[in-house]
Structure formats: C-alpha cells, structure tokens
Amino acid sequence: MTSITTENNLPIVSYIRFDHVVVDFTIYQASARLLKKTLLHNAVGGFIRTSEQSNRVSVRALQDINLNISSGDRVALLGHNGAGKTTMLRAMAGVYSPTSGSVDVSGRRMSLFDLGLGLDADATGYENILLRGLIIGLRRADIERKVDDIVAFSGLGDFLDLPIRTYSSGMMLRLLFSIATSLEADILLMDEWLGMGDQDFIVKANRRLHDLIDRSHILVFASHEIALLEQTCNRGVILEGGRIVFDGAVKEAIALYSKQVT
C-alpha cells in the first residue's frame, strides 16, 4: 500500500472495501405476473426475482460482492451489458447504499459518469463551470480557483461568455471534458473513456486524463475497450450476473473475458 501525503501533511491511504455487498432494485411499475414466467437467467442483466406476496419485481444487480481495492490499484471492470459494472461504480461513488453488506471508502471520490451533469443550455460557459462545481459539492472560492485552468485547457476563449446551446458539439465536448477533469481526486471512477473531440483535442485530452489518473490513488474503470483497459489498468475484475467471477491481473482477466465473448 502506498501512502500519500496531503497538503495537511497527514499521510492518507485511499481504499474501497466491499463486504458482502448486495444491491437490489425493486421495479415498481413492472407487472410481476408477466415476469413470473420469464424467471430465468437471461443472457444479459442481473437476476430477476419476483415475490408472490408483494407483486413486486426486484432485480439483484450485485450479489454478495467482496472486494478490496487499495492505493495503487488501477482496476478494469469487465462484463457484459447489465453485468453490474455501472451499479458497482455507483455503489463506490456512494450513490447507491447497499441493500445489505457494507461499502467503506476512504479518499476523495470523483465520478466521471455523466459529463453533462447539471449543465444548463441557456447558461454561458462560465456559468456552467460554476453550476457544475456547486452541484458536485464545491464552494464558490474553490471553483474560482479552477476557472483559469478550465478556460486555458478548453481553448474556448470568448465563447465561454456565450450560452452553451450555441456551441458546436465539438466545442461542447471540450468544455465538458475540461470541467470534468479539472478536479483532483484520490479515487477516480470512470464509466467508459472520455477522450474525444477533434484530432488535436483528443491528443491533449488523453494526456490530461492520463495525468489525472497518474495523480489519483485508485482508478476504477469500466469499459468494453480492451486495448484501453490493458494500457491503463493493472488489475482486472470480471462481473457476471452481479457476481465477481474473476479478480486478478488485468492481462489474465482480459484473456479470460475475451474467451467468454467469442
């Protein structure tokens, strides 16, 4: 375990610990009667269960997950659609608290799931920087310190004074990416890679993202892009139907997963 010193000179260690974590989703609008007959293991998704008494359908998205991630780990999350990757990331982010079991996380977390989060099309680029920062829990002073960096990196210049609905999609991506990656975090949670934009920007963006990852203690990265996972990660976890079926070196995980797919 690597310990890293913060500004306060307190050595801190980041970790994520899952202890017998179960996450169930109750689907209230689904007709339990219809689904009763289709109670089976599907090719995709978790395990759908119905209960006779309550006429409710619940989906077990994560079943009995035990996982220990510590500083230095760059974890690749592999699995089919609906295997539980996103649910697991959200449980790590603290959004879903487990139905049973416990999730214990130490370190500042940052999730890069939804880049457009909390933005408003009628607001200017600057206002959106402020909006986004406030929404994810920062104070105004913290955000103002980041603005110059975001402005410089996005390369949008005076366009930041215009409402973002006037932006081209490429410009929008530049802004979104610059905002999302402007913050420091101990634990980075990523659902798919963020590199995008025009050719110039992709190179710049990838470099910035790699820097961000290098500075973080922990990365958990869910993706289907094998090459990227192999390049960025050192540990691989394969999920299947909400269970961990493999946890080990990223190379082995990828080899195993590729075999399953074909």
Binding site: F25, T26, Y28, R90, A93, G94, V95, Y96, S97, S102, V103, D104, R109, S111, F113, D114, L117, G118, D120, D122, A123, E127, L130, L131, L134, I135, I136, G137, L138, R139, R140, P163
Partner: protein, 266 residues
C-alpha cells in the same frame, strides 16, 4: 455507516443549512436562467402577482362590499404567502425526481436540493414583497412595532416548509400518484383558507372548525397579522408552532429512514 435516525437527519439538515453559499448561489443561477432573454427578468413574478392582486382585489372587494383600504392589503399579503407555501409544496413533490440524474451520479446530500428549491421560492417571495411595500405606500394602514414579528413568523413558516418538502419529496419519489393528490389538495385548500375571504365572515358559525383544523391557516396568520399591523394572538403562535414542529419531525423521520432509498426509487 447507514444511520437511520431522525437525529442524524436533523444534524444533516443543519450542516447543509450552513452551506448557504452553495445552495443560495445555485438558486440564484436557477432564477436568472429561468428568466434569461426576458426583459423584466424575475420582475415578471412581481408583475403577474400585481395584476392578480389588483384585479381580484377590486372584484372581490366589491362582492364582499369591503373597504379597499382594508381588503387589498389583506388579500395581497395572503396571496403572496400562499404563493410561497403552495409553490414550495408543489415543487417539493418533484424536488428529488427532477434532480434524478444528479442524485444518481454524485453523493451530494439530498438536503441540498431541498434548500436550493426553497431558496428559489424565497427569491420569488422577495420579488413579490415589493408589492406589499407599494400597497402600504398607497393605503398606509397603521403599523406598530409588532411588524417585527414577521421575522419569527417567517422562520416558523420556513421550518414547516423544510419538513413538508422533505416528506413530500420522499413520498412523491416512491409513490408517483402523490404529486397529483397534492396538487388537488392545494387547489382545494386555496379556497378553504381565508385568503380571498376573511376569517371573521365565518367565525361563530359551525364551519369555523374548518379554520381550527387547517394548518395553513395558522401559517398564514402568523406572518399576515404582523404585516397588517396586529400582533398574532397566542392561539396562532401555538397553532403555527405545532404545525411547524410536527412537519419538521415527520419530514426528518422520513428522511432519516428513507434517504438511502431515494436513489433507488428514481
């Protein structure tokens, strides 16, 4: 790590209340964005309430045969407070469902969304309050020192609203029929609460029980009375206090118990 008690909910409430800078700024941005590209901006609120007070005040004043100098301030203060209360509760129903994508992405305390919405309502209230000042300049009804009681009155109302919005926000996220029910109830209560008509007109009759059991009556009176130059009677203070405290406790009990489920219900 999953605390479920009402105590931890109240603690979270207070901690987030101190984060004034964050939710107030968000509410302010929301408000300016909502009226962007309009010429009057948020003053549209003032204008439309002003037209409502002017026209309804004239017509109903005539129907009830009331002195405009007495009826206009009464109706204006009543409708402006009602806008605050019903607006908060109506939006309170959607406070979590609207922030769905946020709640599912970042672990920001749900209280932030509640305060953000209530701050928006207070911004609207401030814009409407200008009308009360204008009306006073016209009619100059006698005010006494008791006008300062507006402050504790508004605090009582605000506490009641925090509790009410929390409870409704949680219930409406789980049971999607509740917003419709609340909208219907609020519409009915607008007519059953003395806003357009005065409580004196039914005092002494059997239906006045309707006032005694109407929580909104107390919440209105506790602010309206000081604004009209009276000191609220003790039963109004007690009534409003009980409503406020009950609402606060119910809201936080539900919040403590179910805040971790809200993300799943979205």
């Amino acid at each position: 790590m999953t605390e479920r008690g009402i105590g931890s909910a109240l603690r979270e409430s207070v901690v987030n209340l101190r984060d004034f800078d964050r939710w107030a700024t968000l509410a302010w941005i929301d408000t300016t964005l909502r009226y962007r590209r309009t010429m009057l901006g948020p003053w549209w609120v003032t204008l439309s309430t002003g037209v409502l007070i002017g026209s309804v005040g004239l017509v109903w004043g005539a129907i009830f045969n009331m002195d405009l100098a007495a009826y206009m301030p009464f109706f204006a203060t009543g409708i402006i407070l009602w806008t605050l209360i019903s607006g908060s509760l109506t939006e309170g129903c959607n406070v979590f469902t609207q922030a769905g994508s946020l709640i599912k992405s970042v672990p920001v305390p749900l209280m932030t969304h509640v305060y953000r919405m209530l701050a928006r309502q207070i911004i609207i209230l401030t814009h409407n309050a200008v009308l009360i000042v204008l009306l006073w300049l016209i009619f100059q009804w006698p005010l006494s020192w008791s006008v300062v009681l507006v402050v504790p009155g508004l605090i009582i109302v605000a506490i009641a609203l925090v509790g009410g919005v929390l409870a409704l926000g949680i219930l409406c996220t789980r049971f999607r029929d509740v917003p419709q029910i609340i909208a219907a109830i609020l519409q009915l209560l607008f007519l059953l609460t003395p806003i357009m008509w005065t409580s004196d007109s039914i005092r002494g009759k059997a239906v006045s029980v309707m006032l005694d059991i109407n929580p909104f009556y107390y919440l209105l009176e506790v602010v309206r009375e000081p604004l009209l130059g009276h000191s609220p009677e003790s039963y109004v203070w007690i009534g409003a206090g009980v409503v406020s405290l009950t609402s606060l406790l119910i809201g936080h009990a539900l919040y403590g118990r179910f805040r971790h489920r809200v993300a799943y219900w979205l």
